[in-house]
Amino acid sequence: MISVIRNLGKWGLGTFERLGRGHIFLYHILTGIPAVLARFGLLVQQMLSVGVLSLLIIVVSGFFVGMVLGLQGYNTLVDFGAEQSLGVVVALSLVRELGPVVASLLFAGRAGSALTAEIGLMKSTEQLSGMEMMAVDPIKRVIAPRFLAGFISLPLLATIFTAVGVIGGYFVGVGLLGVDDGAFWSQMQAKVDFSEDIMNGVIKSIVFGFVVTWIAVFEGYDCVPTSEGVSRATTRTVVHSSLAVLGLDFVLTALMFGNI
């Protein structure tokens, strides 16, 4: 009985300790950001591996998500004779929800796991301690550029996802199912508001970008420096950041659109 309570306490303390370490780590990253801006090449290098190389999966999934929305939306709306509103359905669901959320989930799987594995492997092969020996701060040299790159890339990727998704919906709705071209765009323009819908979607993706990259670099930096530890950290990155994205999405949606 005592041991159960003791384990519970140990678990709680461990969780809070990790949480605290995560925030101190975040503080160190943020103070390291001016140093990154001074060495722009590091950031560009990371933008390539985090952002540009995620572009393919984002564009392809965005297109397919848009096409599926077009098909499903059409099948539902045609029962009410409201297939003219297909553009609104596709655009609003992509702009408000699917764009930021799906892009973040894909980003966590594609780039977040790679970040964790890379940093974790650097730690377990003692490259990070090596840097410290040479009086190079690994947080400034390794972590902060990756964090900033992810933070900048995800909003861009989410925006691209949304735009490609709308084009996918257009392709299916207008191209294949024969919704009127003018009604598709004009209804969309009448119902989608720039500051309320599109900017809120962008704000969501900025928040997700922050959280996902933070989790990814922290898990990598904090991992147990063995091969098993790295693999666990990579798994945790994907699981925790997906959960964080979905949970935060509900909170943000409630704040932005929920009238709560």
Binding site: G41, V44, Q45, M47, L48, G51, V52, L55, A91, V95, S153, P155, L156, L157, T159, I160, T162, A163, V164, V166, W185, M188, Q189, A190, V192, D193, F194, D197, I198, V202
Partner: protein
């Protein structure tokens, strides 16, 4: 590792693509291209019943959208709804005896305010009020009245 010039070009393209996507969303998907909120002016109207009118519902003249509802208020003394309409700056020749009605687009569509210009030579200014208003038609009331009159007719 890639050559640093290629890296920079690829990243530059990526950022440009992201900005282009945002631009496309702004211009093609949202109403930013058609709606300019800066130089518009606000006019008010009082209704007994606004039905399902909402903030951001369209305001039209002759079926053309000229603005949006910017605010809906309730007057505590007259028990009327006071709506503020933000009319785009280009449409500044609405006469002062313009009338406003609340209509529904289609049978179940959203409600909007239709303005009917009068013949006065003075124009509505910022803060002006539309005096002639016609309330929303509430479908339940119409059906109720219809059933009632049917029942009355059946008695004879």
């Amino acid at each position: 590792m890639h050559n640093s010039k290629t890296v920079e070009i690829l990243v530059g393209l990526f950022v440009a693509l992201g900005i282009a996507a945002l631009f496309m969303l702004a211009m093609k998907v949202s109403n930013l291209s058609t709606f300019s909120g800066d130089n518009g002016y606000v006019i008010k109207a009082r209704f007994e019943n606004i039905g399902g009118l909402k903030v951001r519902s369209p305001v039209t003249v002759a079926g053309v959208r000229v603005g949006r509802i910017s605010n809906i208020d309730f007057d505590n003394t007259t028990y009327e709804a006071v709506i503020s309409m933000n009319i785009e700056g280009g449409y500044n020749t609405l006469p002062t005896d313009t009338s406003a009605s609340i209509f529904t687009a289609g049978l179940l569509g959203e409600q909007y305010v239709a303005l009917e210009p009068g013949g006065d030579e003075k124009y509505l200014q910022q803060g002006g009020e539309v005096r002639l208003t016609q309330s929303a038609i509430v479908l339940e009331q119409v059906i109720g009245q219809f059933l009632y009159s049917q029942a009355e007719g059946g008695d004879k």
